[in-house]
Amino acid sequence: MKKVLSFMLVFVLLFSVVGCSNTEPAEEQAEENASEEVTVKEASANEGDTLVVWTFTDELKGIIENYYVANNDLDYEVDVVVVPNENYQAKLDPALGSGKSAPDVFAVEAGYAKKYVDSEFTKDLTEIGINPDEIDTMEYVMEVATSPEGELKGLSWQATPGAYFYRRSLAQEYLGVSEPAEVQALISDFDKFYETGKEIKEKSNGETKIVSSLGDFTRVFLSAREDAWVEEGKFIIDPKVEELMEIGKKFNEDELTLDAQQWTETWFSGMSSDSTFGYFLPTWGLHFVLKPNSENADTGETTFGDWGMVQGPSPYFWGGTWLTVREGTEMESAAYDLIHYLTMNEEFLTQYAKDSGDLLSNTAVVNEIKDDFSEPFLDGQNHYALFAEMAKNIDASTMTGSDLDIEDLFEEQLVAYTKGEKSKEEALEDFRSNVKNSFPNLEQ
């Protein structure tokens, strides 16, 4: 009897062991399914009393001070440091590398965002409590800030499609039309843009030019490229770049521009006088560049209300600001609060959009508010809905981390070629040489 009992016990034990091993794979599978979901960690508590934010223009400083700090009770200080864009990378890189006097949160511009997103110095946002699946931001904005390993390293509150702003009264005078749809028909591609440019110059006896500087075209053509500047360690010059050079030369030879450089006195002066018919500017260009410079400081005359907005000859996007968190920061909770407020807090986003007219990248808020806009500067036109439409077509796949540095070197060659100082081969040769000098490791 004892032998039978012991045998039965053994069999029972055996079967239970076999039973367990059968269920184990099922449990493992369940665990695997669970780990495919994103694990979002809570942000750790603040260990300091100041949140240091670095940015490259005072746009973000204004937003943080007028909205974030003003509307929230914070038990820490927010210190926003503005470093001009030309010096931003030079100042930021050593600070990040050494970790000394480095910011907790820092903004990055489209021209170099990828460099920081792909580096080890930005934090994966899931580690401070931000779940990418819960974010309602436009695809391209998220893609730019996603590292090659699939980590979301940054977020933005804005999308930056580009448009062409024109003067209605000048359009009426020289072209006979002034409504956006009619003007767009006259400049719907670059050939038509060129013809219209000649017409404006003739009819105004050279007083008005269709565009102020060749720099206006740069972003338009660069956005239409298929190849990025750097792909897999190789430096590539896309055909669109050569097209830009050709168009630039054509416009210069026929004197269809004011021959100014962007961001100079002459370029700004056209916004408050009749010398320029229109400007290529993106979303932030309206409230950050055009509106403030529309009043002539000497005569007090203003072009307010005389502008209209159209897509122009080609869709493009220009710039954009992403907020990233430094790996190794001691203010994780504060960083989370700031980023969440600026990019996901619908109350703030709605208010900010209404106050500034800046296009948001949060699709829910944009869809809610876009039909209520009527911009007096543009004679009542609803620019917001138009920009919202344009944003859907933005393809930011050709962005790289060295865009700004390379494009700075390209600017000189573009000017030299379009002014007839060099042949195209020379200009491209010198461009390659300068890029090789700056980036010796790139294959040419």
Binding site: D93, S402, L409, E412, K419
Partner: protein, 319 residues
């Protein structure tokens, strides 16, 4: 050998007081000591580190030094960008220095010649020195706006007086931009050179001038045979400090145009090259370090040559 024995004997007479006169030699050494200490602490380490970097390939965010021998030196001497930057630096400095020395000498002679009795000497000296005090950034913006195209003040002036028919784009002309940089450097430093030369001339024994006048020497003869030769030590000082400063010319060329020496690298000086290598693009610290060491060696060599040439003729003047 002579140098070595001189070095050994330098302390021989240190504590000997000849005929009751106290010897203050060791106080001199004490006063210089703080500088030596500060130099060793703050400057020696960076210098040694730079030289070390020039033997590596450190760039960007890398932290480990990877030694590559003399490869960098061989490469940089064939690097067209560095050679061009070096030539630009010499060109701009020479165009700046020769008129600077000439005009400062002329002004110094006028201001120290007692026969002239210039009124308001002090005010003139202050005004000449003023450009040296203005910050480089302000000057760069000022000149950039002055020579702006197409409606900058200089263009408007030239058009008004019919010197040119159409506005001229100064900053697209390589010669134009180089001359502007050279002029700014000249304008900033001629006051300083002038004051030092004045001090130098005033240090010459006036009895020499009186003796020469009594003998009936003309102004020009006095100038060339007494003033100039006795100014040799001061001129040597000015030459070497101007050379060292000129080789390091950075602020104006960097700020005047686009930061890369536009147009077409015309005003890319050695320091602009070094700065851009270290702080833009790939941030190639090793290139900057190598370039710095090369420039250091060149300056040392040239200073040595100038010193030798000046001192050889010094012994002739003494007779």
């Amino acid at each position: 050998m002579k140098l070595l024995s001189r070095f050994k004997n330098r302390n021989k007479n240190k504590n000997v007081s000849s005929g009751g006169i106290a010897d203050y030699g060791k106080y001199g050494q004490m006063f210089v000591a703080p500088f030596i200490v500060a130099f060793l602490l703050f400057q020696l380490y960076p210098i040694v580190y730079t030289i070390t970097l020039s033997f590596t390939d450190l760039a960007g965010w890398e932290t480990e030094l990877n030694f590559v021998g003399f490869k960098n030196y061989i490469n940089i001497l064939q690097n067209e960008h560095f050679i061009r930057a070096f030539k630009n630096t010499w060109l701009i400095w020479t165009i700046n220095f020769i008129p600077q020395l000439g005009i400062s000498l002329m002004l110094a002679k006028w201001f120290t010649d007692h026969a002239n009795r210039l009124k308001g000497e002090g005010i003139f000296k202050a005004v000449f020195y003023l450009p040296n005090i203005i910050t480089a950034a302000s000057l760069a913006i000022l000149f950039r706006t002055l020579f702006g195209y197409p409606v900058g003040p200089i263009n408007q002036l030239l058009l008004y007086f019919d010197v040119i028919q159409e506005p001229f784009e100064f900053f697209r002309s390589k010669t134009g931009t180089r001359l502007i940089v050279a002029f700014i450097q000249f304008w900033r430093w001629y006051g300083s050179t002038f004051i030092i030369l004045c001090a130098g001339i005033m240090g010459i024994n006036p009895s020499l001038f009186e003796a020469a006048k009594i003998d009936g020497a003309s102004d020009w003869k006095i100038f060339t045979n007494i003033t100039l030769p006795l100014l040799k030590p001061i001129t040597l000082y000015i030459l070497i400090t101007s050379l060292v400063g000129g080789m390091q010319m950075f602020d104006i060329p960097y700020l005047l145009t686009d930061g890369f020496g536009a147009p077409d690298n015309a005003i890319t000086t050695s320091m602009v090259y070094i700065y851009n290598q270290a702080f833009t693009g790939n941030r190639n610290f090793y290139m900057s370090a190598t370039a710095s060491v090369v420039i250091l060696l060149v300056i040392m060599a040239i200073s040595g040559v100038i010193y030798k040439v000046m001192n050889r003729s010094k012994s002739k003047v003494g007779r």
